[in-house]
Amino acid sequence: MKRELNVNHLSRVEGHGAVDIVFENERLKEIRLRFTEGPRFFEFITRERLYSEIPKIVSRICGICYVSHRLASAFAVEDAFGVKVPREVELLRRLLVVGEYLESHALHLYFLALPDYMGYPGAIQMAKDYPNVVKRGFRIKELGNKIMKLLGGKTVHGENILVGGFASFPTEEALESVGNELRSIIPELEATLSLFDSLDYPEFTSEVSVAVSVDSKDVTEFSDTVSTSDGVRFTRKEYELFIREETVPYTTAKVSRFEEEPFLIGPLSRVNLHLEELHPAVKKEISLLKTDFPSKNSFHSNVARAVELLNVAYRGVEIVEELLNCERTPSKISVEPRAGTGYGIKEAPRGTLYHRYSFSDDGHCTGANIITPTAQLQAAIESDLRNLTETYSSVSDRELRKLAEMLIRAYDP
Amino acid sequence: MKKSLEKLLNKPLPVDPFKPQRAVITDVEELAPDHKKFTFAFLDESLAKVWDYIPGQFVMLTVPKAGEIPISICSSPTRKGFFELTVRKVGRKTKVLHRLKPGDVVAVRGPYGNGFPVGIMEGHNVLIIAGGLGMAPLRSLVWYILDRRSRFKEVYLLYGTRNYEFVLYKEELRRLKEREDIKCLFCLDRVETPEDREWADIEGLLTELIPQVKLEPSETYVAVCGPPVAYKFIGKELLKNGYPESQIFVSLERKMECGIGKCGHCQIGYKFACVDGPIFPLWDTKNLPEML
């Protein structure tokens, strides 16, 4: 006998997703995580476009993590043309990432994830009973937005982030004010961390064994290499050799595997891999948590996100300090196109992001490949869902459906 | 020059010309599809007693929440205590106005514009030519003249519109047609239904009615209001029939936003429709190329 459990419209996730859990004779037969988002052909529409247009176009892949797409594509173009940006540009890009994480993680934690654990359909409803909690979420988000607006030009899809740097730099006063606001938001982030640490997460152990992340001590730093929890290291040029993509008919996202296996990326993966490299103040906070890191419980992604929030704020303060003492450079260095291929990797809030572009000698794009975190997570989430269904085989369909949703949300696909 | 500037700056703060007065809707009448006539009374009774205007002038009507619109007054200043506006539902603000009911309060500034030169018209024949919604401001003139009938000589009213359904002020005009002291000639673009046949003197355009008017052109003032496209033809026909162009007055519709020559939207050539108009002698159309 065949039985199907479906969640046709996953809510409180960005984009459109659906899950089918298929049982046959009471045995789990198949799990399908479907992204039903219409295809947007980014690898195709970037073709024949001038290199300077690429970051702008691919920014539109995601409205929440646009900074990551813009930076990853800028890295790729700069790689192809052999451009090295000055320290000041790099620092501003890192500060931009601070803003992106504050916005994205706060949005996810307070508005998408938290209502599950507090028993509300959404944050709007939750605001009636817990106005201060929701306000705190808004406040963190607001600071993230402010940084992105200041450096990127707009809160969403800021056009100031270009190949070779920025069209213009912020003033020193503006940077100072960002530094002060970052300092003053730290108590709020500590409160966030203890709130998310205190929630009751379902018992769960993921069987996804490999964690992958860009080789840098934290998300605000950029790197050319990737490392995995089983000790493999590879460069951004080799990304497509290690992370293999395939198309499956039931989803518009492509499914990626590492050595034929699902793998974990994202906040939990990053915190697990780089626990020792966190800011000392954050490390101290972690030691006080009831959640133990490294953790194999995928629901702990939420705690990891809160850890990262606090960490980026501390890093942000450092970055601002360095920026204020940094040698003044032109905001954008000139870029000379040449034929070739470039690669860019970056830790987006949801996980590792990869862009590759090839160019003709006059700087027109001749080919592109973009591997998004969502695509790479698909196999891991499916594996976790299978695992979850088996762990919670005795609960009602309704509860199982709810647990599945919460699990998927923890990944913030 | 020096003196005049000093004078400008030394003026005391004037009564705010932008500040409207409240008025209540006392009656709403549906005249034709999308055409309604609203009757208003100022809430300030002392104002209601003294508020005066000239036929052809307009007011700036604040439709609450939607904004201000310029509307020609269609009642006659000879009748005090109320005023009427006929409005076609055509834009975002008039849509909201059409939802209002008796008892609702609006705000009004004005009257603005020059109005028809009724003083000069006195002692002469008057030929009134109305097309479509142009009947609204001219209704004001018609009643002004009829209420002071002895000051004017012969009066003609020519009125043309699409078909009977779109005729405004049906009953009123029917009664006018029976009067001896005004000659009414009506035309319709299309005569199809029995009502159309009963109403129309001819099937056709206003220009075809003009030759039927038995007035001495040099002794006649003409007031025209209708869709701008019609002016060219009506003007030509009037001139052909011998009416002097300095005695033909047309009323022009523009996008008035302030009513007092400050916002610029209603410029016609070098003139402002709101302060120099909206009534212009046909002679001006020669000098204001964008007039028609």
Binding site: - | P17, K65, G91, R254, C263
Partner: protein
């Protein structure tokens, strides 16, 4: 010495900063400051930001008299009671060039002559205008428009650069009071100063000698008669209808007003925002008819209004020759070029005369 002039004083250049500091003590000070490669009028906290030798600001000082977006009224939807919580503040605008002073005098006529706008009047009464002399660049044509020198009395003080000093003309009692307040910074005029002052007028006029200037004699009639000229189409073809020319113009005043209700539906703001005759919607009436349907019609309208409309309405040209519209036009359309083209072959001939006639008018 019996030489004595009360209507003017001398401000040694070394005292200028003291003067600015003094002004700032009297009321909020607005002055030209550098921003990027441009100069803008801005409220100054630190007088060392003030720039004295600038050619033109992006926007004229008009923005401190008529803000580009302003709330005319707020009204309640229930009672329909209209209230304005607008309060004009005292302000001193320093460093206005002659063309812009003339621009303000034109705005004065527009706003105050008939149906005076009480809000403008209030602002204007509380504003002190201090002008400063300048030298022209390639876009300036104030000599043609007769606005190269500060005539009229809509300003309070005017500083003319005469070398080591500023020759400070006093235009109003308010200006006089400022001088008395800061009298230790000034000295009396001597005969030589007056000579230098007169020379400065000549110097500015000489600076125009090699520049292209339009002849504006009988310009109203010319524009009316050339209504059908192909020049309009030629120029308008390049026009982007972007509205820059009117937005930077010191005499443009058109606005649109919109009622903006709040969420509760309890109060409504009547917001006025600056607009431009170059935008198609400007002449669009409900029902969908454009009164200026073509780019040519809109383009020509600006010239028509400036050079025919203003003279009809306020007996002054609506152009003060500041050159902003040409300097800022993304399509590099030049008012001077258009006018020269319109005058056509006759231009060469009458161009010669320009110098004499304008000179006659300006002195």
């Amino acid at each position: 010495m019996d030489f004595h002039i009360e209507r003017a004083k001398i401000l040694p250049k070394s005292n200028l900063w003291g003067f600015l500091e003094g002004l700032k003590g009297v009321a909020p000070l607005i002055a030209p400051v550098e921003r990027g490669n441009k100069t803008v009028f801005s409220e100054v906290n630190d007088i060392s930001d003030v720039t004295i030798n600038y050619t033109r600001t992006v926007l004229p000082p008009k923005k401190f008299l008529v803000p580009y977006r302003r709330v005319r009224f707020t009204y309640s939807t229930g009672e329909l009671s209209f209230s304005s919580n607008f309060k004009a503040r005292d302000q001193i605008i320093f460093g206005i060039h002659s063309c812009d002073l003339h621009g303000i005098s034109i705005l004065d006529s527009v706003y105050l002559k008939e149906s005076p706008d009480p809000r403008y009047l209030e602002v204007r009464k509380k504003t002190v205008l201090i002008g400063i002399s300048c030298m022209p660049d390639d876009y300036c044509f104030c000599l043609s428009t007769g606005t190269a020198f500060p005539d009229g009395a809509n300003w309070d003080l005017f500083l003319t650069d005469i070398g080591a000093d500023y020759f400070v003309s006093i235009g109003s009692p308010k200006g006089d009071e400022l001088i008395i307040e800061l009298k230790e910074l000034f000295r009396d005029i001597e005969r030589e100063d007056l000579e230098l002052y007169k020379r400065s007028t000549r110097k500015k006029k000489e600076a125009f000698r090699d520049k292209k200037l339009p002849d504006l004699e009988r310009i109203s009639q010319l524009i009316e008669l050339e209504y059908e000229s192909p020049v309009w189409d030629e120029e308008a073809k390049r026009c982007l209808s972007c509205g820059t020319c009117t937005n930077v113009c010191p005499t443009c005043f058109c606005y649109t007003s919109v009622d903006v209700p709040d969420f509760e539906g309890k109060t409504v703001k009547r917001v006025e925002f600056t607009t431009s005759c170059q935008y198609p919607y400007y002449s669009l009436v409900a029902g969908g008819h454009y009164f200026k349907p073509t780019r040519t019609a809109r383009f020509r309208h600006r010239y028509y209004h400036k050079l025919v409309g203003y003279p009809y309405q306020i007996e002054k040209l609506g152009c003060v020759g500041c050159g902003r519209c040409s300097a800022e036009c993304p399509a590099k359309i030049s008012m001077v070029e258009t006018l020269i083209k319109l005058r056509g072959a006759d231009e060469k001939e009458s161009g010669k005369a320009t110098e004499q006639t304008s000179a006659g008018r300006s002195l």
